[in-house]
């Protein structure tokens, strides 16, 4: 790839660091920028910005909330309906206990969360592509805050934090619509100590 060709291709450096180039173009561009200081600097700068974005975004985790601003209109209506019905179910079925547990919107019986699985946790079944609210009672610990994470395998799907003050009462975790699959909701105290986990079966 010649330099004139490289600079003609729109946002080539960005495409490269984002891993969006086809293998042939990627290899040709690498062969070029290894010898071209100008293009190498462009790639490096794009990578610096990308790395900094990741660092900055991870330092300020997203609070779990719904609906997001980008949510489709149908999802907003579904959320409103879900909140109304879940609020009714929660009012009917929720009874506070000292141990952490999750009151499941679609399941009238609350499920206790346990950091040590002495028995198989059946988890919670949720509808795919629909928001949900999970109520959690976090047991009192010296932790100043708690991190709530929803993972799919090793990948973090969404995350948020709960302060110690908020954790004094049952916390409603508003989860975004999730595609079908197996997830794990985990609550960790400061220092990464597990408070409890719960499988989420999204169908």
């Amino acid at each position: 790839m010649e330099h004139s060709e490289a600079i003609e291709i729109d946002k080539l450096a960005e495409g490269y660091v984002l891993g969006e180039l086809l293998p042939e173009q990627r290899d040709a561009f690498e062969q070029h920028f290894f010898d071209c200081a100008e293009c190498a600097a462009d790639v490096r700068e794009a990578a610096i910005v990308l790395d900094s974005m990741r660092s900055v975004l991870r330092a300020a985790p997203k609070v779990i909330t719904f609906p997001s601003r980008a949510t489709a209109w149908w999802a907003r209506i579904a959320t409103a309906a879900a909140i109304v019905s879940m609020s009714f179910l929660a009012w009917q079925n929720f009874a506070p206990r000292p141990a952490a547990r999750i009151a499941v919107a679609e399941n009238a019986n609350p499920i206790e969360l346990s950091a040590v699985r002495s028995e198989t946790q059946p988890g919670v079944s949720l509808a795919a592509n629909a928001p949900s609210i999970q109520r959690v009672m976090i047991p009192a610990t010296p932790s100043a805050s708690y991190r709530v994470t929803v993972r799919r395998g090793d990948r973090v799907v969404t995350t948020g934090s709960v302060t110690a003050e908020q954790a004094k009462d049952p916390v409603s975790l508003i989860l975004p619509a999730l595609p079908a699959g197996e997830y794990t909701l985990a609550v960790e105290a400061d220092g990464g100590k597990s408070i409890g986990t719960l499988p989420l079966h999204v169908h």
Partner: protein
């Protein structure tokens, strides 16, 4: 500049050196300044390439060290390298060879073609090019961009969702992330240069 090789600020890079015969001669002769510049210049470029091929920092570091070892060995051999003005292309070629051998040693049969996994930029190995300064500049940029764009970046690089999934949810084209990164890079150049200018004036 040829006789003295300046430390290059890659964020505001303007080419101040050339990999010409004199540079290669000094490198082959073991000139310390030239050698330090060479390693400093190519270690980041190799990082940019290798993190698209390898998943751990240990693997990246192993391959990178081997590349430098082979390049220096070749330069200091009687034959030297064939086309001295293509030093960068030579380094890239050596890197490709080392990668191929690494894959074979790791019992992976992928040749250097389109069957090699490109690392998802949302889940890159931990070493990155971000610094406190660059993070501060990018934090300002993220505060200034439209909220929808910030949500897209968060969904992709914090929540590590698939690009197609994010584009579908937010109703943007598949090249929109490239556009966002390009805009951020342009703003970053302005901010980072103005910060550098301010710090130089204070100093």
């Amino acid at each position: 500049m040829r006789s003295s090789l300046p430390l290059v600020n890659y964020v505001t890079l303007v080419e101040l050196f050339t990999f010409d015969d004199e540079y290669v001669r000094r490198l082959a002769a073991g000139d310390r300044v030239t050698q330090e510049h060479f390693v400093r210049y190519f270690q980041d470029i190799l990082l940019l390439k290798l993190r698209q091929r390898l998943r751990t920092m240990q693997a990246i570091e192993d391959v990178r060290q081997e590349v430098f070892l082979r390049v220096f060995t070749a330069l200091r051999s009687e034959k030297g390298i064939r086309e001295r003005v293509k030093l960068g292309a030579f380094v890239n070629g050596v890197c490709n060879n080392v990668l191929f051998e690494w894959y074979r040693a790791e019992h992976r049969a992928e040749p250097l073609d389109d069957s090699i996994d490109i690392q998802d930029p949302a889940t890159l190995p931990d070493e990155n090019l971000a610094t406190q300064e660059t993070n501060a500049a990018v934090r300002e940029i993220l505060d200034e961009i439209p909220r929808k764009d910030a949500d897209i970046l968060r969904a992709r690089f914090l929540e590590e969702r698939e690009k197609e999934d994010v584009c579908r949810q937010f109703g943007v084209g598949s090249d929109y992330l490239r556009v966002l990164l390009h805009r951020a890079k342009e703003r970053f150049r302005d901010k980072y240069r103005s910060r550098k200018g301010a710090s130089r004036r204070k100093g």
